[in-house]
């Protein structure tokens, strides 16, 4: 597949950039933070995104979607990375839609996909339990109870958990805490008895939740995919999310570079435009090279997810690891080259540093994915 966007994706990119710059720039995130907005995102913007078909980008046409694929989803995520737009796009339009369309029963698809496509339902993925991402480490229990299951446990760092209508929860139906076998996935409506959600504000002015499941009863129909063998599906859903996050980080890295280069062209020190200092030029040029490599590996991962989703894991891990390094470097170099102004809340560059740190931790940091990559490479 050629490593360029096709016409459709190119148009989507232009449209996304225009819309986000106008309707959801960093100023929006700043306002959400400063007004302590209860949702942590702007519902009007979200409705407009649904209107434009962004929420249905991975929903099959049969269920009301436009089914454009991961490259297209990545294009949107990348543009959101430039403007740091807060929305449930990743948790719902990418991960929720992937989970249901690839692993849902006909009933589950029929219930949720049209609502996701329409922007009417928000979903969240409740996977982690400790401070570091580790999808096979599951202590949350799902015990058989009558015709269904009873879920008990505690999930941390659930993106958009505080606004979700439904959560996809990993729980153990068999095996020991760290075993790969015995993990199952369940669709848990947020209003089920025994679910409690605590909102956590994170450094990036976004929202996560700690979710407690206290004997939550679900029917047998709530199981998503194979009972006891849910880890494969979970990894596939996570990989979709990781690739989307990598695309977002790529957008953020590009924007950090662009705004830093712009600052270098404008700021004076020692009587000179600082962009004339060769040491800074070389650092900016090196950063540009890294950002270009980041763009390429993200595109490769997204194309692989579209073309061969069952063989995308290595490319996705490479992308998440590489973008973890690149985006953090871009933010750090950005703050440093902005000097004292880069340390102020008034300038936007710090928002990138904070968001990129959170994106780095989410669904496996660069170290986690480097390790996963090495294992897949069998060394």
């Amino acid at each position: 597949m050629a490593m360029v966007l096709n016409e459709e994706a190119g148009m989507l990119k232009d449209a996304a950039r225009g819309f986000l710059a106008d309707s959801a720039p960093i100023a929006q995130l700043r306002k959400l933070r400063d007004t302590d907005n209860a949702d942590g995102f702007d519902r009007k913007t979200w409705a407009a995104m649904a209107e434009m078909g962004w929420t249905s980008v991975l929903v099959p046409e049969a269920h009301g979607g436009v089914e454009m694929g991961h490259v297209a989803a990545g294009v949107i995520a990348e543009e959101m990375g430039r403007t740091l737009t807060a929305s449930p796009f990743l948790s719902t339009a990418i991960m929720g839609a992937t989970a249901l369309s690839r692993f849902g029963s006909d009933g589950q698809k029929g219930e949720w996909l049209p609502r996701i496509a329409a922007g009417e339902a928000i979903t969240a993925i409740a996977v982690d339990e400790g401070r570091k991402h580790n999808p096979s480490r599951v202590a949350t229990k799902a015990e058989r109870s009558g015709n269904g299951f009873k879920l008990s446990g505690r999930k941390s760092f659930v993106a958009e958990g505080h606004v979700a209508d439904m959560m996809i929860v990993s729980a153990r139906t068999a095996g020991g805490e760290a075993e790969a076998e015995g993990v199952s996935l369940f669709l848990v409506p947020i209003d089920a008895a025994g679910v409690s959600v605590e909102r956590i504000k994170t450094v990036d002015s976004r929202n996560f939740a700690t979710v407690t499941l206290d004997g939550v009863e679900v029917t047998a129909d709530a199981a998503l995919g194979e009972v006891d063998g849910g880890l494969t599906a979970l990894e596939a859903v996570l990989d979709a999310g990781r690739a989307g996050l990598s695309a977002e980080m790529s957008g953020s890295a590009q924007e950090c570079l662009a705004s830093t280069v712009a600052y270098l062209k404008e700021r004076k020190q020692f009587g000179q435009i600082i962009g004339t200092f060769q040491a800074l030029q070389h650092r900016a040029a090196h950063l540009y090279s890294e950002v270009e490599l980041g763009k390429s590996i993200v595109m490769k991962a997204l194309q692989t997810l579209d073309a061969a989703p069952d063989h995308a894991a290595m490319m996705v891990s490479a992308a998440k690891a590489k973008l973890g390094q690149v985006a953090q470097m871009a933010a750090q170099e950005g703050v440093q080259m902005h000097g004292g102004m880069g340390m102020t809340d008034e300038f936007d560059i710090g928002f990138f540093m904070k968001r990129v740190r959170v994106a780095e931790a989410l669904y496996g940091d660069a170290n986690y994915h480097a390790e996963k990559f090495a294992r897949m490479r069998q060394y």
Binding site: K132, Q269, F270, Q332, D345, R357, N367, Y368
Partner: protein
């Protein structure tokens, strides 16, 4: 019994009797630091501890007794430090007056200036701010434009400073001002002491990416300073400033060293070990190992630079190496801490303030002369590379 040994015994007994038990608990955060000053709210034990220590001159053990110090030599001061550490006594007082202005006054001040300004510092009565940077000067400190006019019996100051630490809580400020606009860049600058309690001086906190506001903008609008409050010669303030910069550089660089828990220990606590007894994140383990080895090499370098200075062999500009490397190391350290703490470190406004601490370190390589300025200094002064 040697003099040092008996001093140790007396000190131990005195500390035991005089250090309030609350002052032997670890500080729980920045709010437990006693900065002193006219507006400072002290708890009873804090006040007791400060007064008792100041009474012995031990808030600044090595300063001369006549200016409120303890008059101790290095060996005795070391004993005092060790004995305080033994009972985990908190520092009774921390301040820019102690770290920065004091050393400058001791070196460049007149006897009268010392008598006027040093004792209140030692008793925590006056809190000082530092007024160096300006909005359009940044790293180029010698480009200060704050105007200081001779009005016969006093000076009149107009201009703006930025990055003045805690200026909103300080009582006085030591500032670089331009007293001769006709002279060359480095030659028309004076080092002056200004009372901030006058209407002509106002401050405005700057909100940082960490959410905190440890720095301010400080505005001088027809502010007044007495003529005897110029330190060093008029128009020769750059000499005093350079001395203080070196001092500050070493202080900030030193923050990259041993005070914190080793990164490896934190990581093990957060992440645990695998079956072979290794940190259960092999990639992070590599980075932490390299950090700790660099940390050892850095601490050895701090020690060596200090010992060389004592032996009169030092390369003066090596303070730039310490500032540069120490702050970069500290940034690396905090990045690895964030990697270790994972999701738990990302909460905004969490009790342990991990994220705020991480973000704060990003300023280390900017304040007190950016890393780039330090590399320029090394290149020019040590390597003697030419400028074009």
């Amino acid at each position: 019994m040697s003099d040092l040994e008996s001093f140790r015994e007396e000190t131990r007994a005195w500390l035991e009797a005089n250090c309030p038990v609350e002052m032997r608990q670890p500080m729980r955060g920045e709010h437990d630091i006693v900065w002193g000053g006219r507006n400072c709210q002290l708890s009873e034990p804090q006040k007791l501890w400060l007064d008792r220590m100041a009474g012995k001159g031990w808030t600044v053990p090595e300063w001369p007794v006549e200016y409120g110090g303890g008059g101790l030599d290095k060996a005795h001061a070391k004993v005092l430090r060790e004995e305080m550490k033994r009972i985990k006594a908190r520092a009774p007082l921390q301040s820019f007056g102690i770290w920065m202005l004091g050393p400058a006054l001791l070196k460049y001040g007149t006897h009268e200036q010392k008598l006027e300004h040093l004792p209140p510092i030692t008793r925590g009565e006056i809190r000082w701010a530092q007024g160096y940077s300006e909005p359009n000067a940044g790293s180029d400190l010698a480009a200060v434009m704050t105007k200081c006019e001779d009005k016969g019996d006093h000076y009149l100051i107009n201009g703006q400073k930025i990055w003045t630490s805690y200026a909103d809580q300080a009582d006085w400020i030591f500032a670089l001002v331009r007293t001769d606009f006709a002279a060359k860049k480095h030659e028309g600058i004076s080092f002056i002491l200004v009372d901030m309690g006058q209407p002509g001086v106002t401050t405005k906190p700057i909100k940082l990416i960490s959410g905190k506001s440890p720095f301010c903008e400080t505005f001088f609008d027809d502010a007044r300073a007495e003529k005897h409050n110029v330190v060093g010669d008029l128009n020769k303030g750059w000499t005093v400033a350079k001395y203080l910069l070196t001092h500050e550089r070493e202080m900030i660089g030193g923050m990259g060293s041993g005070a914190m828990r080793p990164a490896g220990d934190v990581a093990v606590q957060m992440i645990g070990k695998d079956e072979q007894g290794r940190l259960d994140d092999p990639v992070l383990r590599t980075d932490i190992t390299r950090l700790e080895i660099d940390g050892l090499a850095f601490m050895s370098t701090m020690e060596r630079v200090a010992d060389e200075a004592k032996a009169g062999q030092g390369v003066g500009a090596n303070s730039s190496v310490l500032k540069y490397y120490g702050t970069e190391l500290n940034k690396r350290r905090l990045e690895l801490m964030m990697d270790s703490v994972g999701q738990d470190g990302l909460e905004w406004g969490a009790d342990d303030d991990a994220a705020a601490h991480w973000l704060r370190t990003k300023g280390n390589s900017i304040e007190g002369g950016t890393s780039e300025v330090q590399l320029n200094i090394i290149s020019k002064r040590i390597l003697e590379l030419p400028t074009s």
